[in-house]
């Protein structure tokens, strides 16, 4: 109550002059002094910062084509837009500052000048119950197909539909169809309600249309549209994945699972690691398409296998994506290292798994960005065009495959927007000078790199992780389980002996 009263007071007291000060300090770097989305940093961003002059906003409660409400704009300011460079400002700026900056950014567009037009939020219904049940999800899936979601978002929702390579925003810049299996990256939020609202309003400025007319013209019931939202929600995990630093590789009793489809993988814990653009060394990359990898590991007495799984909208090289690559390269400023503007090419998808050359004794590890001249790193490199090789890297652009490609083997599967790659090797190898000798029960540093060729990624233009750890767990010896039982039995026996002795009739001598 008090907070809503306070909000009313603040809205009433919006001050564009004070808002301009806040804007110039915190917003202009990306959105530009004149609000045209052309600040200094804008040329390194995809999606591009919002151009306020057109007053076209993705995240609204209003019908497509209408202006957003103040509450809509404030939500974007407060919470940011997940999956983009826009952070939330609720904890960074005061209530007054955020309201003032909201008032100021509306001055960039003449559409807001007519204050007699009050944007009207759509009347949203509440989610029908049972949304996670099998029947509801089946209905949702049926309409997901029939209203054409899969055209862009793909059969399994990973943003790999047939129209995906052609998508552009209003300014002609490339834009990805959302990967619906990663709801924590949805621009307008990942809850069922958020998804339903986006279906109703569309995301103006992007290819995502509003589906409200379907309800108005009775091609779909409101409940059916909710089922679509619930189905889309079900494609993502209940919680956004959390990073755990150590990959535990259990020792498996059967043969090592070397196929990405081996059912043994379904019983092995999966670890998620976020990837970010390589922006440290030239030429830098500001638009990584691979935002994370899921890693599993298993070993036998003598061999190790790693399964790395990641979402990728294209099985590169794929000429259908060539125009998209051209748009990405045109939309993103290259840093000053490039002698000539990059030409689009048909590059493969790639993955690198990196270890130190020897297991370090302390916490010191080689430089995470592929080592350096004096301290090389040992890598497995897989390419969609040529399998895997092992080699040493002495810096970002200094990778040398071992003679004969080392001893790493790879099997890969691409399925509906997802790569699954298993890399396997013996724990001990002959070439001890150039290959990591893997040992159990040690924390082995490991890092990951990924390239989406159809997003223009190659060379130093890639997604990178930091160092994490891999631990090959020893099987628990049988005595660990048996000893407590024996101990308990002995304790029981002793106890009973004591009781028996105590209860024995005392003989008076």
């Amino acid at each position: 109550m008090i907070s809503s009263l306070l909000a009313l007071v603040l809205i009433a007291a919006q001050d564009t002059t004070a808002g301009k000060v806040v804007y110039q300090k915190w917003c202009a770097g990306c959105h530009g002094d004149n609000g045209a989305g052309d600040g200094e940093a804008a040329r390194f961003m995809l999606p591009h910062p919002r151009d306020f002059t057109g007053a076209v906003y993705q995240i609204r409660s209003t019908a497509s084509g209408e202006l957003p409400t103040d509450a809509d704009l404030l939500r974007a300011i407060d919470q940011g837009l997940p999956g983009t460079a826009m952070p939330g400002w609720k904890t960074r700026l005061s209530d007054r500052d955020r309201h003032n900056v909201l008032a100021y950014l509306k001055t960039f567009s003449t559409f807001f000048a007519d204050t007699t037009i009050k944007p009207k939020p759509l009347q949203f219904s509440r989610a029908p119950g049972g949304g996670s049940g099998a029947d509801a999800l089946r209905v949702g899936r049926q309409f997901y197909d029939s209203i054409g979601c899969r055209k862009c978002h793909g059969d399994q929702g990973r943003g790999d539909g047939p129209s995906a390579p052609t998508l552009k925003d209003d300014a002609g810049r490339p834009i990805f169809a959302a990967d619906l299996t990663q709801n924590w990256r949805f621009n307008g939020g990942g809850s069922v309600e958020d998804i339903y609202h986006r279906l109703r309003t569309g995301l103006d400025g992007t290819p995502m249309p509003s589906f409200s007319d379907l309800l108005d013209q009775k091609f779909l019931t409101d409940e059916q549209l909710w089922r679509v939202a619930q189905y889309v929600r079900s494609l993502s995990p209940a919680e956004a994945p959390a990073v755990r630093d150590v990959i535990h590789a259990p020792q498996v009793t059967g043969p090592l699972p070397r196929s990405p489809r081996d059912s043994a993988w379904s019983r092995i814990d999966s670890y998620w690691f976020p990837l970010v653009g390589q922006v440290i060394k030239k030429s830098r990359w500001f638009d990584p398409a691979v935002t994370g990898v899921r890693v599993q590991a298993a070993h036998t007495r003598d061999s190790l296998a790693l399964r790395v799984v990641w979402d990728d909208r294209s099985q590169s090289p794929d000429s259908a994506w060539l125009a998209h690559i051209g748009r990405v390269l045109a939309a993103l400023a290259s840093d000053d290292s490039a002698a000539a503007p990059a030409q689009p090419g048909l590059w493969p998808d790639q993955l690198a798994v990196q270890f130190p050359l020897t297991i370090p004794q302390g916490m010191e590890r080689p430089y995470f960005l592929m080592g350096n001249a004096t301290a090389p790193v040992y890598q497995w490199r897989w390419s969609s065009q040529g399998g895997a090789v092992a080699g040493l890297a002495r810096g970002l652009e200094r990778f040398e495959p071992l003679a004969g490609g080392g001893t790493v083997g790879a099997q890969a599967v691409y399925d509906h927007g997802e790569w699954r790659v298993v890399l396997a090797r013996a724990l001990a190898t002959a070439d001890t000078a150039h290959e990591l000798q893997v040992r159990t029960s040690r924390a082995i540093p490991v890092a990951f790199f990924a390239w989406d060729g159809s997003n223009g990624e190659h060379g130093t233009r890639m997604a990178v992780s930091t160092w994490y750890f891999l631990a090959l767990d020893e099987p628990t010896p049988a005595r660990v389980f048996i000893s407590p039982v024996i101990a308990m039995a002995l304790t029981l026996a002793l106890g009973m002996l004591v009781v028996w002795r105590a209860q024995r009739p005392k003989h008076v001598l």
Binding site: L67, D170, P207, S210
Partner: protein, 254 residues
């Protein structure tokens, strides 16, 4: 006084004439302009629009993802970027009076809707005009998802979906704008261009490159011809009484 501007490009060589024929998709004629009640008397401007040089080839559309659309064509459909008629006539040019009509003069928009049809995964018509406030009915005749995105600067754009055959949406535009771009993001080749005008003095050239703008009161007007690939040209025409004047334009193909 008629004037031709920017028309000279010497050495027009081989002229490729692209057929404007609309392969299988049966089609109604573009909606007739309904400006009769406003404009009976007045002058008329007619003209022919041609181009010099070789028209770029319209890319063939790959409709393999959309069997229902593909089935509507006997031969592979092409885009309609440059639709040429006999003797280098240029179709789909939006011709309108860009200046000269007094701002005080108000025209009532027809109440009849202009129809934009999505049929065979193409827009019909491809280039057209409406008056400010005039209803535009967007219709889906294909049994599959189209989204209709309007990209506008002076008007509010929008983006709505029509996943079913028989869906319609009626919109109107409050502000003059040449052109509002319409596109489908599911089918990247689908584009249409809409001129929004405050008066009825506009026309779109047909396959023979000709146009006619009727009912102009006496005055001196700037006539602009807009083509999606070849850009714009202007001419100045003075009308006195009910005479008929000619304004021809020649674009240079590039």
């Amino acid at each position: 006084m008629n004037r031709r501007l920017f028309s000279v490009l010497g050495g027009a060589l081989v002229l490729t004439v692209c057929s404007p024929k609309d392969d299988g998709a049966a089609r109604a004629a573009p909606p007739a302009r309904t400006d009769a009640e406003e404009v009976q008397a007045g002058g008329t401007i007619t003209g022919k629009i041609k181009f010099t040089g070789t028209a770029p080839r319209n890319p063939t559309i790959d409709m393999s993802e959309e069997a229902a659309c593909k089935a509507k064509y006997k031969t592979a459909p092409t885009e309609e970027n440059v639709v040429a008629g006999p003797a280098n006539a240029l179709a789909n040019v939006f011709v309108y009076v860009s200046a000269g009509v007094p701002a005080t003069q108000k025209f009532t928009a027809p109440t009849a809707a202009v129809v934009l049809d999505q049929d065979g995964c193409r827009y019909h018509p491809h280039v057209f005009g409406v008056m400010v406030g005039q209803p535009l009915e967007i219709r889906n005749s294909d049994p599959l998802l189209h989204n209709i995105k309007a990209l506008a600067k002076k008007n509010r754009g929008f983006n709505v979906s029509q996943p079913n055959a028989g869906m319609t949406k009626t919109v109107s535009f409050p502000t003059p704008e040449v052109m509002v771009n319409l596109e489908c993001n599911v089918h990247g080749w689908m584009r249409a261009y809409l001129g929004v005008r405050p008066d009825p003095f506009f026309a779109v050239t047909g396959p023979d490159g000709s146009f006619s703008i009727k009912g102009l009161p006496p005055g001196t007007y700037t006539i602009e011809a807009w083509h999606e690939k070849f850009g714009t040209q202007t001419a100045t025409v003075t009308i006195a009484g009910t005479e008929s004047k000619t304004a021809n334009f020649t674009f240079a193909a590039h």
